[in-house]
């Protein structure tokens, strides 16, 4: 995770600088001007808190095994959330991810059972691209609101799955299952997959023209257009990128589960959870602000929470209550500075409210 942690924050000064001047850091946290710093500090806080509580309960929290478990639990949601942040940054949204995951695992497992691993990987990624393109084109071309467009796509995929699969299907060869189970030293390989994908996405969003245009489109579509940005195309590509990440998540889950499962994506509510993670990471739902680094922070917070709950074996129903509260509270904090907007009326900066 450290690689990501030390990455410059999407907006405002990178953590290094804030740590230079403590005062500034404090202020930036209090006003949470920079959610990325905020969310990682929150992650830290949750970890410390969890450690204290668990230790008080006589458990041991900061064990390697547990740390590994936490990282491991980040992977699937992390991959999806990273993709989700791409679309949300661009001012769009993708509710079809959950079913795309399910379908992805099935396709992967079945193709691997018949064809080879490589074929399967390509097949899944191709599927993802297709779905992403469809989403993007429906949103930009047909001007269907992204919420409905992707929800509709979700229904379509669901029908496809239920019509063609009656349960766990396919078989993942051991060679590929290594992606799900192997560890390099203590760190699961899949974590590297997450880091890699996140890094690529971070590179795209922060370091390519496309990425700049994504922020612009999400921030203020009109201004972006005036500056010669091809907003429509940007949205489409964002959707494709998102689906690709989801495809990666599907491949990982396939490797982990050793087979495709029709409920791999839906049981875990990856659609809403990923959005929650993204927003928890300080990315504005309206787009234009935030980024991958924050999203990973959000995912990490959720994973740590889960782990703490595990350690204290908290009632699963109670977990949801806490998660709900956490999400709302976090966004409420991010929303606070916006109540005294610093930007004059001339600027319609993308905001979450």
């Amino acid at each position: 995770m450290t690689t990501v942690e030390s990455a410059p924050a999407p907006s405002g000064p990178p953590p290094k600088q804030t740590s230079l001047s403590m005062k500034k850091a404090l202020r930036s946290v209090r006003r949470s001007v920079d959610p990325v710093v905020g969310v990682w500090l929150a992650a830290l806080a949750v970890t410390v808190l969890g450690w204290i509580v668990v230790t008080a309960q006589g458990g041991s929290f900061l064990t390697t095994a547990n740390a590994v478990a936490i990282l491991q639990n980040c992977v699937a949601l992390g991959l999806v959330a990273v993709g989700q942040s791409a679309v949300i940054l661009t001012g769009s949204l993708d509710l079809s991810v959950a079913y795309l995951i399910s379908l992805g695992t099935l396709v992967a497992a079945e193709t691997m059972a018949s064809g080879g691993v490589v074929t399967a990987v390509i097949a899944v990624l191709a599927l993802s691209v297709a779905v992403g393109l469809a989403n993007g084109l429906i949103v930009t071309g047909l001007k269907v609101n992204a919420f409905i467009a992707t929800l509709g796509m979700a229904f379509i995929l669901r029908g496809w799955i239920e019509d063609n699969y009656t349960g766990p299907a396919g078989e993942v060869p051991v060679s590929f299952q290594r992606l799900g189970y192997d560890r390099i030293g203590p760190v699961p390989v899949s974590v590297f997959l997450l880091i890699a994908v996140a890094a690529v996405m971070w590179l795209i969003t922060r370091r390519t023209r496309l990425g700049h245009h994504m922020y612009a489109t999400g921030g203020d579509e009109h201004a972006a257009r005036l500056s010669g940005v091809r907003t429509g195309r940007t949205v489409v590509i964002a959707h494709v990128l998102c689906s690709l990440c989801v495809g990666a998540a599907a491949l990982f889950l396939a490797a982990r589960l050793g087979a495709g499962a029709p409920w791999a994506g839906t049981e875990a509510r990856y659609d809403l959870e990923s959005i929650a993670a993204v927003v928890l990471g300080g990315t504005a739902l309206a787009g234009g602000r935030g980024g991958v680094a924050g999203t990973l922070g959000g995912v990490f917070v959720l994973a740590v929470l889960d782990s703490v709950f595990n350690q204290l074996s908290v009632d699963p129903f109670f977990k949801n209550v806490v998660r709900g509260v956490v999400i709302i509270a976090a966004v409420a904090i991010y929303a606070r500075p916006r109540r005294t907007p610093k930007a004059p009326k001339a600027l319609k900066g993308g905001g979450s409210a």
Partner: protein
């Protein structure tokens, strides 16, 4: 319900001085953004008639309406929230929680009067809405997130409290509303649906309703006209929550205690509303069309079921139809605006301030006119 004569606009165009407007155009205008859904509904109902001639025998048709009632009520509530530019994802959870809590209440007070329990549920639903509303309006949390959180909280809390399975049985008296019939032929659910529907129409005709839509259209203009934007939006959430609670009473009544009574209702309700030509982001669309959207969905399900289509393809068809309907609407809309907008005066505000809608930049699409 879906008869054009019930849309608020008709009354107005009648009262309003539109000497040039022919009756045809007037009706079209009255139907407003709903036209596609009314056509869709008509087609589906016709298809049902063809598939199953017996469908229109009173009791089987009434049982159809009775089955649609919860979704219709949910759609009406959801409409109020959407039309003022917000979302309510928590309705499904409210339904589930409602049923579970009702059973739990009866577990502790077996002989509580059904009116009391129903009232408690409605109040509780309203309270959930109030909280969502305040968090959204006062704390400026996007309603998508607020209600998503509320969804998790409610489900979690309800089951946490009941240890996963409610202890009581829903007595017949309580279940009458969802299950029983008046005068032996008219299901109470249908009555409830009619009452709720009428109430919704009246609300939308009232000053509150009008200011609500105006708020969704442009909350700055509304605020400068003296509208208490925060209060209006919050009330919308309260009503949505109460509607969900009523739906819970019907669902619980219809099919008894279940741990997943409300599963998926939030998306079905939103789909229904959007199907009714209501713009996500607010300011446009009629509540009657929204309820017609709910009927269309239910009709669709029934049709697919009668056709013997496996539950599988059901959702595919649903997805395609929704996208198509909304896409069609969007297309009409942009064409129309090109033709009618006078030069100089650009298109209306791109993103109404205060729109918590995830994709504000796209929300000019999605309404035929």
């Amino acid at each position: 319900m879906s008869a054009p004569t019930e849309t608020p606009d008709t009354a107005k165009s009648a009262a309003g001085k539109a000497p040039t407007a022919a009756t045809g155009t007037r009706i079209v205008r009255a139907l407003g953004t709903g036209i596609p859904v009314y056509l869709l509904l008509a087609v589906l109902l016709l298809a049902l008639l063809i598939t199953d001639p017996g469908f229109y025998e009173p009791d089987s048709f009434l049982s159809f309406v009775k089955r649609a009632a919860p979704l219709v009520i949910l759609a009406a509530g959801q409409y109020l929230v959407i039309v003022c530019g917000e979302f309510d994802l928590s309705v499904g959870a409210i339904v589930t929680a409602g049923v579970v809590v009702a059973a739990e209440l009866y577990g502790s007070f077996p002989d509580a009067h059904w009116l009391v329990v129903t009232a408690i549920l409605l109040v509780a639903g309203g309270l959930a809405g109030l909280i969502s509303g305040l968090i959204t309006t006062v704390l400026r949390v996007p309603s998508f997130i607020t209600t998503l959180g509320m969804m998790l909280i409610l489900e979690g809390a309800a089951f946490f409290w009941t240890g996963g399975s409610p202890q009581g049985v829903l007595p017949t008296a309580f279940r009458q509303l969802g299950r029983g019939t008046a005068f032996g032929w008219l299901p109470w659910a249908v009555v409830a649906c009619l009452v709720a529907g009428t109430a919704a129409v009246l609300v939308m005709r009232s000053d509150f309703g009008r200011t609500l839509v105006a708020t969704g259209d442009s909350d700055r203009a509304a605020a400068l006209a003296g509208v208490r934007v925060i209060r209006v939006r919050t009330v919308a959430f309260i009503l949505s929550g109460a509607a969900a609670a009523l739906a819970a009473v019907l669902v619980g009544g219809f099919s008894g205690v279940s741990a997943q009574a409300g599963r998926g209702y939030e998306f079905e309700a939103i789909t229904a509303v959007v199907l009714g030509g209501v713009v996500l982001g607010g300011g446009r669309g009629s509540v009657v069309a929204a309820m017609a959207g709910a009927f269309s969905l239910q009709a669709l399900f029934t049709l697919l079921n009668l056709q013997g289509v496996s539950g599988a393809l059901e959702s595919t068809v649903q997805g395609v139809i929704v996208i198509a309907a909304v896409g069609l609407g969007a297309a009409d809309w942009s064409r129309l605006r090109h033709r009618r907008t006078p030069p100089g005066s650009g298109p209306p505000d791109r993103t109404p301030p205060g729109t918590t809608h995830p994709t504000g930049t796209h929300n000019s699409g999605g309404t035929p006119s």
